[in-house]
Symmetry: C2
Subunit: 427 residues, 2 copies
Amino acid sequence: MTINANDPNRKSWLNVEKNSDFPIQNIPFGVFITQDDIITIGTRIGNYAIDLSALQMLGYFKGIDLTDDVFLQDSLNDFISAGKKTWRAVRNRVAEIFDLNNLDLQNNEKHRDAVIFAIDSVEMQLPVLIGDYTDFYSSKEHATNVGKMFRDPENALLPNWLHIPVGYHGRSSTVIPSGVPIKRPVGQTLPKGETSPVFGPSKRLDFELETGFITTDANLLGEHIPVDEAEDHIFGMVLLNDWSARDIQTWEYVPLGPFLAKNFATSISPWVITLDALEPFRVASPAQSPTPLPYLQQSGNRTFDIKLEVYITPKEKESKLICESNFKYLYWTMSQQLAHHTINGCKVNSGDLMGSGTISGTEPNSYGSLLELTWGGTKPIALPDGSTRTFIEDYDTITMKGYCQNSDIRIGFGEVSNMLLPASVRF
Amino acid sequence: MTINANDPNRKSWLNVEKNSDFPIQNIPFGVFITQDDIITIGTRIGNYAIDLSALQMLGYFKGIDLTDDVFLQDSLNDFISAGKKTWRAVRNRVAEIFDLNNLDLQNNEKHRDAVIFAIDSVEMQLPVLIGDYTDFYSSKEHATNVGKMFRDPENALLPNWLHIPVGYHGRSSTVIPSGVPIKRPVGQTLPKGETSPVFGPSKRLDFELETGFITTDANLLGEHIPVDEAEDHIFGMVLLNDWSARDIQTWEYVPLGPFLAKNFATSISPWVITLDALEPFRVASPAQSPTPLPYLQQSGNRTFDIKLEVYITPKEKESKLICESNFKYLYWTMSQQLAHHTINGCKVNSGDLMGSGTISGTEPNSYGSLLELTWGGTKPIALPDGSTRTFIEDYDTITMKGYCQNSDIRIGFGEVSNMLLPASVRF
């Protein structure tokens, strides 16, 4: 009999605080370094990091078809390549091991010491070695807001937007985990009314509230992934901050898209939440009109009700919640994004990251960027310390949180939180 | 005394045919698989592939600081990480080993059998594991031609073009070596006069004649590479075909740039030619007006005189030379591209690939794409078999060649040559 890791009634023998993002029903996957400098794949329950390589070595995964070193890795890529059946078997087994009624590990102090770490004692790493990073642009509200500000208020959405989950390639080398500080980028911008660009630190530094999904080896070169099979090739989701220098972007982005305005940093939350864990929160995505082309027509509910929040925190000051959005607002689903990405035969690999695009809702407090929240800098946001913000200032920290909640359980993402440092002075 | 691998008077005891791209002054680096299924890093002289891991094991690199398995790899990445001094030392040593006057290997039949293979007996691989692939847009003539056709003939160049080496991110997972056939991509296009897109195989399949350069670990996140240090971080160059589906591109590319129109395939030549080998062909790049911002101002001659050719070959028919261009036509240099790419602190890794952008000259027969050569399909090209081409047809092979030549020597790139196969029928 296989255990169902999603059973909302299961309690763990590990303490889980009320409103924790990581009850025993979550079981995310990540990579951490212990105080003994061991790097391993792990999971999290409550405020405990659990070393999956230690669990495997101690025999707790007996019966699951795993290579010996699948968890003794500095990335999830090999584990992801093992496929959905394996992820599911491991997640179910972890639920079983930490079930209140299971005494095996619970009563084995030596094993517990080898397996369980206080979350504050480990250092979270980037969970995957990202081969390619793609960023989509799938919020109709965001695309409309940007179109209104930068192009034509009467024709804010470009003609292709309702037919294509528009996306573009980003930079893998600068995807960083939560916690790593980011330097304000310098570059070229064109001051209003000028015809020649000037050089200096960006003055319009912004965040973009996104989620990302991580793929497995999904297809061969020249093959596509049908929309209704796409979820089988999605390992899980993270929170993603698509840091953006608006002034650099405005000057550089025609005709080939954003480049230096984005590729200085993209930060993600360190725990990958599986689609299995999100299953209880599956909902329908927005109705699509016009009907998309057949290769983008999906059946069933293909999105999830994930509450999203953004906080801004000036240095050593009080935080302010500046955005409340929801993943379910997105017009295009992950399934449609992956089907579109591969329709031309583009190969997708294990560990590839796909960003959702900025997730804005219809209400002004649900807009997923300062560009929209302050409407291009014209409506400053008041902070508790009396200061205001149009864009991000040096030493501000941007924190994004995400969680699903119903009357039974809460499945959360933790956070992606990074401080902005001043630009280097040597320019 | 260190030998100078560029000495034009050196002859090899290996036979090198007249007009070979690979005299003993070239010494490129690549990765191949032997008939015994051994994958190794190698070089080439004439029509011989030389196994560098075998040379190392036999002691021929004594005195050069190399890790034991640096050549027993399926990519050049670790070797590239070793840095310019190491690449140079290895290249000079290879020149010494194969010098006509050096009898060590020449007279050792057992060693020769372990080291030297007929080029036709090995299978060339992708030379690097590409972390990130960036494509620039640095030919003024190409950007002007495209601007004239797609936007405004009177203002063909966009305002940023003369200030920025415009670039965008491409897809690493679909960079393939010469020889691998490519399937015609399918996707969305908007027929003329329609408002809704249709689905099917691309009808305007094109090549783009480019070169690519491969970087080493050049900087940390948040650091930049000064323009006059950039060449120290460039390992070498390859030929690059940026396959492009023009009809998909036209519909999808606003506002975030090309995506599915490009990411189905990018092919490169398998031998990486070092900048050291190209040194005798260093020339000045075009004068730049307006003067670029200081971080893009370079000193000295920063480009190379590399003749480029494109051939089209219908299945089992005669080839036709359809384009003669030159790398030196490019407005922005590799040094400027790399300085620009990192000015915002974007991290560059060993094995990253940077495409030049389509290399067009001023003369119509020097245009680097069918889009320009046939002026948007309005001027068909006649082929020797009596057929004509506006865009690439199924089973056509596109071959790009590149070489430098002076009265002393010829340093060539070999070729990148790939056949286009029909689209999959299962759609």
